[in-house]
Symmetry: C2
């Protein structure tokens, strides 16, 4: 594709994104002060259409980008605007003010993103499978009930109520707890199985029948920790989009979005793929992001992992009802072992540059905020930085 075609395609995408109307050769020449006549442009547009980058809704209409057109735009002609100071200001406060738990931090990041982009934002709670278990305490609440408190490697705390045999007393419970801790401490959550944990039974000197129920409950508590939650915000923004003037479309889409587990699963797939792609090294994304990074010479230089993003356009999204949307995600990292996904769903006809900048920016702010609020200022590699938080289910 020669330079002029690129220019034209970019112009068409930009116009179409703005107006939501098929763009014609004449108006294109006018608006962009192109130094060719509309006839030439028409010629080029016909070729671009033949190549699959453009589509016509009907014979005598202007052109609009196809999925492939958007893809080319995003891959090759994207410019990422910097976040203006007034846009950027306030996010720190927004994220950190009266903050209680890690969970809420993510929730707020999603909320902020939705507000700034006017699209639907989606975030996944952190994935802890790579974290290791540092402490586990089981404490009696009253006969028959206890609470399990888990401390993970980065200082994250989770807990969960469990039922235990009523005849177990505080001392016994304590010894079971210590046995479990000896047996599991330092292990990665992923590697903990029912088999691993039941090897603690022998150490207690208590009747197996008693111990086993507690062990099982403790096991469940540990596994609950790995459950991933999904947060969404800004669903209502999309109704303003002209593509949803057609209510049936909106309907289809919102039904799809309502399948939160599907969406979450898909985001994890995207992450997977992004990581694979990065591993292969063929990652043009990095270049783009470099630009953003250098825009603000930030305190985040400690973070080794570069933020990067992934874009899925239209049919590329393997979720029913999302054919007319685009889905942009990125991975946030808190310390070394904790990470999750955050992203935006909007119409295909999206301001890709602006949105990607926003996502990268929020992502960065999120990581900074996590470090700032929960971290130790003197330990910068992240893995020993503290991160407070709990979730439970």
């Amino acid at each position: 594709m020669d330079e002029r075609k690129k220019q034209i395609l970019k112009a068409i995408v930009d116009d179409y994104v703005e107006t939501a109307e098929p763009v014609g050769s004449k108006s294109l020449v006018d608006r962009h002060k192109l130094k060719y006549s509309s006839a030439t442009i028409r010629h080029e547009m016909a070729e671009l259409e033949e190549m699959g980058y453009l589509e016509k809704p009907h014979t005598s209409a202007g052109r609009m980008p196809s999925d492939r057109g958007y893809r080319a735009y995003v891959d090759n002609m994207l410019s990422l605007p910097e976040i203006s100071p007034q846009e950027a200001s306030g996010i720190r406060d927004f994220l950190l003010k009266n903050l209680d738990e890690a969970r809420e931090l993510i929730e707020r990041a999603a909320e902020y993103l939705a507000g700034k982009t006017n699209y639907l934002s989606v975030a996944l709670s952190p994935q802890y499978s790579d974290s290791s278990l540092e402490q586990i305490k089981i404490m009696m609440i009253e006969p028959g009930r206890a609470i399990v408190v888990l401390v993970l490697s980065a200082g994250v705390v989770h807990d969960r109520l469990i039922r235990i045999p009523a005849m177990i007393d505080e001392k016994q419970l304590d010894s079971i707890g210590r046995a479990v801790e000896r047996c599991l401490a330092g292990k990665k959550l992923d590697d903990i199985t029912l088999v691993t944990i039941s090897s603690a039974a022998g150490e207690t000197g208590l009747p197996e029948a008693l111990v086993n129920q507690v062990l099982y409950e403790a096991y469940v508590a540990i596994k609950q920790t790995e459950k991933i939650e999904i947060f969404m915000d800004g669903r209502h923004h999309l109704l303003k989009q002209p593509e949803f003037r057609n209510v049936d479309r909106a309907n289809r889409f919102y039904r799809a979005v309502h399948q939160e587990q599907m969406v979450a699963g898909y985001m994890m797939e995207m992450r997977q793929e992004q990581e694979e792609r990065q591993a292969e090294g063929c990652d043009w994304n990095l270049d783009c992001l470099e630009a953003v990074e250098s825009g603000e010479e930030s305190a985040l230089s400690v973070q080794r992992t570069k933020p990067s993003y992934m874009v899925r356009i239209g049919q590329e999204i393997a979720l029913d009802g999302m054919e007319d949307m685009s889905f942009i995600t990125t991975t946030y990292r808190i310390g070394r072992q904790i990470s999750g996904q955050i992203g935006v769903i909007g119409p295909k006809r999206m301001q890709y540059g602006r949105i990607i900048s926003q996502i990268s920016f929020v992502n960065k702010a999120l990581m900074e905020a996590a470090g700032e609020h929960y971290g130790h200022p003197d330990s910068n590699d992240g893995s020993s930085g503290q991160k407070e938080g709990k979730t439970e289910e």
Copy 2:
């Protein structure tokens, strides 16, 4: 209003709810096999309109109910269908299967309700201000961090991470914890203030400066317990409603719904008003509900408080953007001191009878489920029944 007018109004509401089209005299006579001619009906309709129960979109169109018409319908001519067994089946499983926390129980009840009604369901998490604090434990996680575990009267457990001065050791923390418990045990959450709690400081024999931070954090933890969460489900269903064929309306509405705190606040107001009305005894609702109750001779007879409901129609709803909707809520109770709200938002043109039945049914199932899963089978008054659960913020 004479009997015939009532009959006609009811017929009009029923027809309009079904078809969403203004209903005319002729079709009304046909569909309901009325023994008067259309001219007579026309006469009556004109009068009903004059009385404010009906409206015409334009001169030569049929009539549709006004807010006042719906109100009369709901107040005087409502019939509450029984829940059919196949509709009812599965709710127990749905609510209880793999249930972890109280919070999730409410969430599921809302989900179920949304699914069955095809409208938007809303639920508030339980309000604990009336509960009293039974136990409070503060336990060290690591230097500088601890976890506060609160056990409320009905056996509900909440917890929260706090920061403490790093020099406090496990023993000291323990003694602070016990002092706080001595000082607060048995008090209603509502009655606990910073003043009450700081009276514990003297008992510990530790430097005030050290103790005070812990006390403050414990106080915050207690207050967090009273925060009310809101759950919604089924937003997407409403898009199917013909009233939302107009996207701008949908837009306005969804923006309103997005103000979750507003909605939650409004639900609490409604509850307030309902309680006042019940106290006055002038409660026609009870009669209606009696019918539903007797429909299923249920295990819930232990519950002394009768379920009842509250309906707000159109303009009656004091929330911007909800003028075309109706809002039905009811109060669920778990034991004596714990209660919250659950309800449905749908178009004014709503199957009131069916929806109210559904809400009452779900409410009952919710209370049963709470009793069954968390309660002691042998203590039925609820207040001593156990209720497991935690939330944290």
